[in-house]
Amino acid sequence: MTEIELLSWARGPGLQIATVIFVAGVVIRILEILLLGRKANLAEAKGTEMTSGLRTIITRTIPDRTTFRRSGITIVAGYVFHIGLFVVCFLSAPHILFLKDIIGFGWPSLPTPVIDAFAVVTIIALLATLVNRLSNKVMRFLTNFEDLLTWTLTFLPVITGYLAFHRIGLSAPALLAVHLLSVELLLVVFPFTKLMHAFTLFLARWYNGAISGYKGVAS
């Protein structure tokens, strides 16, 4: 198979397979959670669940001061790479073209040098999170194979995307094919791992806020 044929496969059947597994996996996992339901709360409410849940979805984004002081590196590195990933994935021109094709509409992109800078910062932040994970006592205790796998699968698209854009290392179609394949690998593994938190954290935060809000506490 030539490189350009690999690229065509990655842009064609590869993406299809990845889409099927990703979408089906995410839907099944979310339904698996939601359909378990929870018992109705019979206690006299002090606050409303819906609004409290929605509030926590937003406010849980902001760590309290003591937690920040104690876990600053984890929080900062985590935020930097998440923001970086968001910017690179959703605000770069080629990615917007990709998404526009799937969902039907696009939006303005950020200038290329800005995206480039964000990509570099994201790569550095991801490396920082790995070092942190392996050196922080608690994280080292908690870390298992899945944590390292998901880190790798998250890191690869960023680094291969950077190399593909700058045309470093392999021929252009090969670089692009590798980047696409790395994304497809990420998508295929995604629903089976903690990466699901990208979706389920909205549920978890909502439940947290709802449970506390019922009792009149803003969590």
Partner: protein
């Protein structure tokens, strides 16, 4: 039927719901929960990371309620939940956790880890893995009516003292009143001044209230050991008597988890909404304050601070009321660093103080509270939970700190206008 691993596993299965599933699905192993838990921060033992304590529940969720987990189970690839494993976890789930809920406040993906630990205890207890001290307390609570073995005659004796000291009548078994007061055994035995304080405050405020001789115990060991069936038995006693007497509101006293047990868990345990309200004594007093029925005079000049009992503040929702009340007798109030819903646990709640095996670690983690106190150097600490109070006194003594512990209700009563 007695405790078996099968019962334990079944109990865990029953505990999994959408909330649990969403929490376990979202955990990214960030470790922030450890830094919020005093049992980790003061011992440095990573096994005490809150989410790690929930491992028994997680394994059951994974292997029973997820597609991949089921497939893994069929292929024999799941991690076992057996007696050996649960025994290893006993110390983490019971000795190293008060279910204070601070972890639930900091988890970035929103996991209510304390709730999951509470659920994990259901499985532990059903498998016979609850600590001896808690089993004893629960047995006494169910069979005698109080985890400390306090029976009505003991309470009646304390009531007599109060009546003698105050000249007031403490209403007992009076039907149709507004409020029925519950009491924790700890208060009855160690802090009977609380009963006096309530009597005086209610008398001055013109509150119609009573205590029941049939069901006066607020403490709910079922919540602490984590057996909902037994917790329901204890709650039902209160419900029966409240309905029999036809009271409007049941008052939970200065006891932490008692409030959670009756106010928030109660109706769900017995499976029916209450026909009466449930309020914490601080909520009642604050209501009286807003109605102008509390005549308070004189200030306590000392630099005061307030220790938020976890089950009342963070897990209970009674956060502003104590501060409003303190404001009535103090102009020299300073908040603890990390206050209100983010205050640090004293280290003794959730059954830890009933578990003798946990004595050492309980005193060790007091260092977190000590650090808070060292930062603001108060002259007295106000609180509203007798369990916190006893343990804080223990800890202060252990570290040679001479700071008096004040009950908020008692202090309020001391400042009644016409004293």
């Amino acid at each position: 039927m007695s405790a078996t691993i099968e019962n334990g596993i079944n109990a865990l299965k029953r505990q999994v719901d959408a909330t649990v599933a969403s929490f376990f699905s979202s955990c990214v192993h960030c470790g922030l929960c450890a830094e919020a838990c005093l049992f980790y921060t003061e011992t440095g033992d990573p096994r005490r990371t809150p989410i790690n304590k929930t491992e028994p529940l997680r394994r059951i969720w994974k292997s029973e309620y997820t597609l991949m987990g089921r497939i893994g189970k069929a292929l024999g690839l799941t991690k076992k939940v057996d007696d050996k494993f649960l025994e290893e976890w006993q110390e983490l789930v019971y000795d190293s956790c008060t279910m204070c809920g601070r972890c639930s406040m900091v988890c970035p993906v929103g996991n209510d880890i304390a709730l999951m630990i509470r659920k994990t205890r259901e499985g532990m207890a059903a498998a016979g893995q609850a600590p001896e001290g808690l089993i004893g307390a629960t047995t006494r609570a169910v069979t005698i009516g109080s985890p400390m073995g306090v029976k009505w005659p003991a309470l009646r004796a304390q009531i007599r003292h109060v009546e003698e000291d105050t000249g007031l009548k403490v209403p007992v078994d009076v039907p149709g009143v507004d409020y029925m007061l519950l009491l924790s055994s700890m208060e009855i035995m160690n802090f009977p001044e609380f009963i006096e304080a309530v009597a005086r405050l209610f008398d001055k405020a013109g509150v119609s209230w009573t205590i029941s001789s049939e069901a006066f115990e607020a403490t709910n060991s079922g919540i602490q050991i984590g057996v909902s069936d037994l917790a329901a038995v204890l709650v039902q006693r209160i419900v029966d008597v409240a309905e029999k007497l036809g009271v409007k509101t049941v008052i939970s006293p200065e006891c932490g988890h008692a409030y959670t047990a009756i106010r928030w868990d109660g109706p769900n345990l017995v499976g029916k909404a209450f026909s009466f309200r449930v309020r914490h004594i601080l909520e009642v007093l604050d209501e009286l304050r807003t109605q102008g029925r509390l005549k308070i005079a004189g200030k306590d000049a000392r630099k005061l601070t307030y220790h938020d009992p976890c089950q009342i503040s963070r897990r209970g929702g009674v956060i502003n009321e104590p501060r409003n009340l303190i404001g009535m007798f103090s102009d020299n109030f300073v908040e603890m660093p990390d206050t209100g819903k983010m205050n640090w646990c004293c280290g003794a709640g959730g059954g830890v103080s009933a578990n003798e095996r946990a004595d050492e670690i309980r005193l060790k983690v007091f260092e977190r509270k000590k650090a808070q106190l060292d930062e603001i150097r108060p002259e007295a600490i106000v609180s509203a939970c007798s369990n916190c109070r006893i343990h804080l006194e223990d800890g202060l003594e252990e570290y040679n700190m001479d700071i008096p512990l004040l009950s908020l209700t008692e202090t309020l009563a001391e400042h009644l206008a016409d004293n």
